[in-house]
Symmetry: C2
DNA sequence: TCGAGATGTTAGTCACCGTTAACGTAACCG
DNA sequence: CGGTTACGTTAACGGTGACTAACATCTCGA
């Protein structure tokens, strides 16, 4: 009664399934608080089966964070190069960036959480690449903010960007307070106001 | 050549020293990423010496989080009952609350980080008490915000409060970007603007 | 002075965890 | 068919880590 699937198809699904379950577990209990056995159990296989799909626990985390930071960075790059036509204002580009981050935070809360907590557990070959992608992502924001307010020192723009990420990424912790339908405009308004205030201090 | 101290004095100092070191380590590597041996080494004693001061690793964490949430809740309560005289506006009370949280986030970044990440590792007798204190703290904020904007639904105020905490607590992660002297007014301005935006959505 | 308490130490013990080994099974492909 | 490949399983191994036991030292008060 099972539907036949190509091995490749199965493999990809299983990998994705594992990454998804692991993300949720890591977000809830931390990397070291989750065992290989836990992750296996969460997808219905048990323990060492994971080694058919990943080289190890750290490799699993590395792939997860690499995927997240790539997607964020790509989305931001796409926004900047497509929305930011000469006609579009920097303000509109910023709104588009905000939407990218808000969508991500609301739809993938576990991934966002792991993304900014567990980089320290990624071994060095991949760690640098992830750092690089994260930095590029931040720089997209800083560039747009700098266009929007040329007089503002870059250090303050960077700090403001991190603060806005903190605001938006706090969603996972306050989940359930408000339906996502209301959360999105709320976050957008708060983040927008915070950014405006940041470039206008003093 | 060693200066004589009362045992009680020594004990208190050592306990505080351990809590401080543990907070930094937990913030950096997560509760399960830090060993008893690590904590001991950080204060110059080694391993099981900690059991002279704490019942165990979880008890240490419990005391740490209990202390943090008590202090936050007390500071907030003090602000509300002393600043919020009939003469003072709710806006001024809110600014005072903001200052409490900003000071805490800037001066005790490790504690703040552990405070909103590691509650899940506290065993049940104390977990409830910490949760209760955290909830009371949030409610102080919500009450002040509600006075400030009576029409706004409480759920949105709560969500906004959590978002502001996220903004302010992100400081530890962007540490070094900006000197604390500049960080404080920046955070104050951003948080103030975010709050105002939250109660005025739509 | 001497016994008690506070505070260390080192040497175990025991559980858990990441990883590997050895082995089974079902599907696909020549 | 028969063999390779994908994907599981259980059993073991080695390391680590929380916690305990047994033992030292130092200070202080009676």
């Amino acid at each position: 009664m099972t539907i036949a699937r190509t091995p490749t198809r199965n493999r990809g699904n299983r990998r994705a399934e594992i990454l998804d379950a692991a993300a949720r577990l890591f977000a809830a209990r931390g990397f070291h608080g989750v065992s290989i056995e836990d992750i296996g159990a969460a997808v219905g296989v048990s323990g060492p089966a994971l080694y058919r799909h990943f080289a190890g626990k750290e490799a699993l985390l590395a792939e997860m964070l690499l995927d997240v930071s790539s997607r964020l960075r790509e989305s931001a790059a796409a926004v900047v190069t497509s929305v930011a036509t000469p006609a579009a204002s920097s303000a509109e580009t910023l709104d588009a960036l905000l939407d990218v981050q808000i969508t991500f935070a609301l739809e993938q809360p576990a991934l966002i959480t792991v993304h900014d907590r567990e980089l320290g557990n990624v071994p060095e070959p991949h760690r640098r690449r992830i750092r690089r992608l994260q930095r590029l992502y931040v720089e997209e924001w800083v560039t747009v903010l700098a266009e929007l307010h040329p007089g503002c020192p870059a250090a303050r723009l960077r700090a403001a960007t991190h603060a806005v990420f903190g605001l938006l990424n706090s969603t996972p912790h306050s989940a359930g307070e408000l339906p996502a339908r209301d959360m999105r405009p709320l976050l957008r308004a708060m983040a927008r106001a915070a950014v405006d205030a940041a470039v206008n201090v003093r």
